[in-house]
Amino acid sequence: MARILIVDDEEHIRTLYTLELEDEGHEVCALESGRNIVEHVESFRPDVVILDIKMVDVSGLDVLQEIRNRFYDLPVILCSAYGSYKGDIKSVAADYYVVKSSDLTELKRKIEQALEARIPQD
């Protein structure tokens, strides 16, 4: 099972994701803001990050850049209520893009795929 970091400014989303993913045996840490993301990643050491885009205080796409600059191989799944950000070139830096839904089937599938994506070493 994996360590999953959720970044979303909506409390009910954080609660829903946390309950569902903990039910699946994952260890979850949920943040309401993407500020200081580097410190949170360093302390929690997630296997995958689920990142909202449209947040009150900061853009998830900028947070994604911060993560990429520092933790290049950390899988990140953008999870937004809006499909339109998929057209933003910055979203290419994410592993996957999922449109929010109360049905987490797609999100769980992407988490599984992100965890599978290990580039073999020598």
Binding site: Y72, K86, A93, A117
Partner: protein, 405 residues
């Protein structure tokens, strides 16, 4: 190593940064990228020793004169294969050799027929090489029907094989380190296809396979060059690109068999301002269908030989579809390519015959791609391409099983 023809009027013997412009009969076009490269080097690489190199195939249309007569403040070198020796890869090989001799740290290569290049392209493709990156692939907007080999073969295959998402693996405009140039020069997988149009995918694949730090340079403007209708022009380029992908699958199998999913690749160069929309590319869908039909008559025996029975049976269904309902499903396309890769390895047919037999299937898949995306905006078409890649990744266990241990 083949001889070369070298003209170095300013006796350049050392350089930090080299811009290479490969060409064959590009007299009417090469002045513009030469000028833009010069401006880019002057503006963004002050303090570095720079040179622009035209790597030519002994063009007969005075490409060399057009290159030397272009407005340019940077020293220039002309290097050419001997007359009669053609091939983009051969031009690159001369470039690798020259770069090694010059001791360059970074190399940027841009196509000679580019009409949309700006000085910032040189910055975007070159600057990451001065940090820790070894290979820079371009990232630009292209019309949804420009680059159909990229969209339907090169991108999905390299992504699912080697696990890195490099959106334009045969984009034609690259950056690579001087160290990587020396590595390319000596690598044993060089062959006749690589010496031609296989060079782009060969360089990208080697960078992926050997885990060179890769980034994608976001170039802001679309790639505008001589567009090609995918129904009208294919020629040897198709054989050389696909043949190179299949060729490299053999020695690199122990690596790609272990890759299960893909990872994004870093992007350099955000903030270049508003992105421009690419110009339209017209596609003759009737010609695509006809080429598929003609190929079905001509290559039926080859398909039966090369494809797995289940793939061949599914293809038989597709062949019976009326033009109005024609569709070449993505999972079938993935299986066709995987079967062909195995057939290529096993030499079930002569290589050229096998790759020629794949071309009409590619036309069929391209027609289906055009139909599926015709009402889509560029962004939606991009999503379609990404979804297609996921189908390839989902189908990869089939390839691994067919390939065997």
């Amino acid at each position: 190593m083949a001889d070369w023809i070298l003209e170095n009027p300013e006796n350049v013997s050392e350089a930090d940064i080299v811009v290479g412009i490969p060409s064959y009969n590009e007299a009417d076009a090469i002045a513009f990228p030469t000028q833009q490269a010069s401006l880019g080097l002057q503006e963004y690489f002050k303090g570095y020793r720079t040179v622009i190199v035209n790597c030519d195939n002994a063009s007969t249309d005075n490409t060399k004169d057009a290159f030397f007569n272009a407005p340019c403040e940077v020293p220039r070198i002309y290097v050419s294969t001997p007359p009669g020796v053609k091939g983009k890869g051969n031009n690159f090989r001369n470039l690798f050799r020259l770069v090694t001799e010059l001791g360059a740290q970074a190399v940027v290569v841009v196509d000679a027929d580019l009409k949309s290049i700006t000085p910032r392209w040189i910055k975007a493709l070159g600057e990451p090489l001065l940090d820790d990156f070894g290979f820079v692939a371009p990232l630009y907007l292209r019309h949804k029907y420009d680059g159909t080999i990229t969209n339907n073969i090169a991108y999905p295959l390299t992504r699912c094989l080697y696990g890195r998402r490099v959106r334009q693996p045969i984009g034609g405009d690259f950056g690579f380190s001087g160290e990587l140039a020396r590595f390319y020069l000596e690598h044993e997988t060089w062959n006749d296809d690589v010496a031609q149009f296989g060079i782009d995918i060969w360089m990208t694949t080697l960078a992926m396979y050997f885990r060179k730090p890769i980034t994608q340079a976001f170039l802001g403007r679309p790639k505008i060059h001589r567009p090609k209708d995918p129904a009208a022009s294919l020629g040897p380029m198709f054989r050389q690109v696909v043949g190179t992908i299949f060729h490299l699958m053999e020695p690199f199998a122990p690596f790609w068999r272990e890759v299960r999913r893909s990872r994004p690749t870093a992007i350099f160069g955000f903030g270049l301002g508003e992105t421009e929309q690419p110009p339209p590319v017209n596609v003759n869908v009737d010609a695509l269908y006809q080429k598929f039909r003609d190929g079905a008559d001509r290559y039926d025996a080859a398909w039966k030989e090369a494809l797995a029975p289940a793939t061949y049976a599914k293809l038989a269904e597709v062949r019976q579809l009326e033009p109005a309902h024609f569709e070449f499903p993505i999972p079938l396309w993935a299986h066709v390519l995987y079967d062909m890769a195995v057939a290529h390895r096993d030499r079930v047919l002569p290589r050229e015959d096998l790759l020629d037999s794949l071309a009409p299937l590619y036309f069929g898949r391209t027609l289906s791609f055009v139909r599926s995306t015709e009402g889509m905006a560029l962004r939606q078409a991009e999503e379609y391409v990404e979804d297609q890649c996921l189908v390839f990744e989902d189908a990869k266990p089939y390839l691994v099983e067919r390939w065997g241990a």
